[in-house]
Symmetry: C2
Subunit: 141 residues, 2 copies
């Protein structure tokens, strides 16, 4: 299979697949013409990666998950560990976003949103003690 085929089948852009090869997540063979030649197993890996990424796992998580995936003597506890840590991250991000949403929703409701210059949103931004809503830096990933 050429890259276009696996791109269609895995759902990943060709660019992303090349990038994944660059960083060592897949290692397709090469045809004599220099084209990448993907096996079924490569396609499976790429679909795996797409799914894992869409669940928000980092590339580093994906690397570990792939390794466990290919290790038939793995312990499911190791996989669960990665997933649970990721869940903690997700929860933290959700909390952070909900905090932002609360504050912003409040401010938006306060603001007349008309032609006049008076704006509670700007007033808040200008005067609020920063870090009230989120002591850490904003959402990272």
């Amino acid at each position: 299979m050429n890259i276009g085929d696996v791109a269609r089948l895995s759902g990943l852009p060709a660019k992303t697949i090349r990038y994944y090869e660059d960083i060592g997540l897949v290692s397709p063979l090469r045809s004599t013409n220099g084209y990448r030649s993907f096996r079924e197993s490569d396609l499976h890996k790429l679909a795996f990666l797409n799914r894992a990424r869409s669940l928000g796992f980092t590339i580093d998580d994906c690397r570990n998950l792939l390794q466990l995936y290919e290790d038939n003597s793995r312990a499911s506890a190791d996989v669960k560990q990665i997933a649970m840590e990721h869940l903690i991250h997700i929860d933290a991000k959700i909390d952070e976003l909900i905090e932002m949403k609360k504050t912003l929703t409040h401010l938006v409701h306060e603001c007349a949103g008309d032609h006049r210059p008076d704006c509670p949103i700007l007033e808040d931004l200008a005067t609020a003690v920063s870090g009230e809503t989120s002591p850490k830096r904003a959402v990272s990933n």
Copy 2:
């Protein structure tokens, strides 16, 4: 005021303040020794930026908000517009994360998490049609 002072007072790291100068968000004066010399107005801007960033506004949003902030004849509708668009973004991210959380929570509960290799999490990653939980790419920011 030197950069250390405004860093302490605004809550932003000095590095970030220099970066904000680079991208044109603040334009402090310079002392004869080459040190940046911040006015009260610069400090206010930086605190404003810190607050806006902590609410998840992009740098580009911040640029627009700052401009409105300094324009005494602004219409509050313009500010509200930016805030409301940002709220839509936040909502989308929350939804995406909640979807991920649901899927992952389910998988984690299914997984025994012991020494055995059988793992529903890996099975899902390997077989699920990707894009079920989130048709677009994972959470961006």
